[in-house]
Amino acid sequence: MTPGGGIFRPARDGALVPVAAVRNAGRGLALAGAAVLLLAACAPEQPPPQAMAEDGGDWHAALPGHAPGRFGFGTPATEDRVALWDIDIKPDGEGLPPGSGTVAEGRVVYEAQCLQCHGPTGTEGPNDRLVSSGPWEQWPAGRTVGGYWPYATTLYDYTRKAMPQTTPGILSDDDVYAVVAYVLHLSGLVPADGVMDAASLAAVEMPYRDRFVPDDRTGGPEIR
């Protein structure tokens, strides 16, 4: 149990660690690293909560020292419940459902469900352009699937969740595989006789995946 008095905040491992306030030239509070805190033999001196409130910043996450180890609110989620809602697809294909669909089947789905907004070949709109023809002199040429998207799994995830826009959720898992296969085919990434399933979709190599880099902006004087 945490000692009474002072203010604390949760660490990843669930422990409440003291909020160590380091006044920095009169503005803001810097939170000392968790490792430093864990090494500390005793809790550093605590500033009064009122002073922290004036300084803003980390006090929002504060809990009093006598907070319980767990509040225990809510209801345990059953496995069935989790399975019902855990619908997202990870970039390595985790979460992809059983089933499959062919490019030919996908054309039928596309023309019935997608063509109205995305055009006969995925280029005409009026909504987002899905397909662009390469090679491109300038990158990116729009944010089309083949011309930009780094992961094919995203197309399955997004289509199953959010498409068609006015009737989301009406496509079966096989329908989604099929229409994903068709759009990837229009993008030149899957052959005309291609079949998409959990294994083959995760294996599709998107041309521009390696272009994506983490944010390197850090504040400070440099403009990035």
Partner: protein, 431 residues
């Protein structure tokens, strides 16, 4: 929208109409300025508010009774600017019409990807699962039992400012609302996400969460666990009342200082993971192609920015003399420490006054007295944040990034004040 009588009025007529209203020797504010009809854009979404005829002498006529829910003052009709009536659309906050820093909740900008869902709070559930010891379902009553906190902070769409980012698209007739109206500030109330994650028990090795909404787009974004444990909130209150449906009722993820898209509204699921999910809105969208051929991903933080909201388009200054320039500054990296204003196109700069409160990751209002000599000039502002970052010029952004992305356009905004007092967006005049 058809031309109104006002649109056809000449500037000369405006000036004539204004003569005598703004006496020389006094400091004039935006209340003393005239306003041109903003360029068309919004379609009429609802009829103008009915304005009761004012009594000739209100001290001789009994007033109206008390009421359960208040109304705006007659004639005061700030409006969001609706982009299109579509499922995936936006509406913008009228920055040039507001005072202080708090955005009235019904004027908070909107950005939806499949409309605003109608959710009954009593039926809403939040599933928290994944790399946790105890997967849990929380109802709103559960979330409200957790220790509560409130925080004033801005929410901004990272596409804000995208209306002026390239040489080929540099507008003049564009208002603060049109350019930067995807920015609003509220006092948000809710539970700290760190408290909930502590309850469910995050497993070692976890490094991200996936946040998912209950809208028809099932809006999904991956967020680093560090942010979730730092200052992320599950917000159910906004400016003293329940969060508005357009802002995620009954509960949204709030990530102070980060781009709005990641602050998933109508939150129904949080999955703790060891990698990002690579959803559509963190790959195809909300990534920033740079001039070196790469695309910056997970560019969450909104860097320091400021904009003069007065004088700005579509205001018209009826005469020279003392005017009070005002505007907003904000940064996702903490506090704004300084705002400078230039009234000579960026050749010289003066410190503006920062009007309290100056809060971390919130908008701050700045003011600067200006004795306008009546000659054409360009005014602009630049903000500095507590990391030492100075709001860049558009050329600095082009040098660093190229012109391939409309996201994160935080360059210095400029307004041209013409000799006849007409104010237009002036960045093009500096290029």
């Amino acid at each position: 929208m058809p031309d109104t009588e006002q649109t056809r009025l000449s500037r000369r007529a405006w000036l004539a109409a204004a003569s005598g209203t703004a006496a020389s020797g006094f400091v004039m504010t935006r209340w003393d300025a005239l306003k041109a009809e903003p360029s068309p854009g919004p379609m009429p979404v609802r009829p103008p508010q009915q304005v009761a005829p004012a009594a000739a002498d209100p001290t001789k006529v009994p007033g109206r009774f008390v009421s359960e829910v208040g109304t705006r003052a007659p004639g005061v009709q700030p409006r969001r600017l609706v982009r299109t009536l579509a499922l995936s659309s936006s509406s913008r906050t009228p920055l040039q019409d507001l005072q202080g820093t708090i955005t009235p909740s019904d004027l908070h900008f909107e950005r939806h990807h499949a409309g605003v869902p109608d959710i009954v709070a009593g039926d809403h559930e939040l599933l928290v699962h994944g790399m946790v010891e105890r997967p849990m379902v929380f109802r709103m009553a559960d979330l409200r039992r957790y220790p509560q906190t409130s925080r004033i902070c801005f929410v901004e769409c990272s596409g804000n400012g995208g209306g002026a980012y390239s040489r080929s698209r540099m507008p003049t007739a564009i208002s603060p609302q049109q350019l930067d109206g995807l920015l609003s500030t509220s006092e948000w109330t809710g539970a700290m996400l760190s408290t909930i994650l502590r309850d469910v028990g995050v497993r070692p090795g976890a490094s991200w969460i996936l946040a998912e909404g209950a809208d028809a787009a099932v809006m999904s974004r991956s967020v680093p666990l560090d942010k979730a444990m730092d200052d992320a909130m599950l917000a159910y209150g906004q400016n003293g009342e329940a969060i508005r449906p357009e802002q995620g009722y009954p509960v949204r993820l709030l990530l102070p200082g980060w781009e709005g898209n990641a602050q998933v509204k109508w939150l129904r699921r949080i999955e703790v993971t060891d990698r990002p999910t690579m959803t559509r809105d963190e790959t195809s969208r909300y990534t920033d192609p740079l001039k070196d051929g790469t695309a910056r991903q997970f560019s969450f933080v909104m860097d320091a920015k400021s904009i003069i909201t007065f004088p700005s388009y579509p205001y018209v200054l009826p005469e020279s003399g003392w005017w009070e320039i005002e505007g907003l500054a904000w940064t996702g990296r903490g506090r704004i420490t300084r705002v400078e204003v230039s009234t000579d196109g960026g050749r010289s700069w003066s410190d503006a006054v920062l009007q309290p409160p100056v809060l971390s990751k919130s908008t701050v209002r700045f003011r600067h007295l200006w004795d306008w000599d009546g000659r054409e000039t360009v005014i602009l502002s630049r903000a500095t944040d507590e990391t030492g970052y100075v709001q860049p010029t558009i050329r600095q952004l082009w040098d660093a990034r190229g012109e391939g992305t409309a996201y994160h356009q935080n360059h210095q905004r400029a307004w041209k004040v013409a000799a006849d007092g007409v104010v237009t967006f002036g960045l093009g005049d500096l290029l």
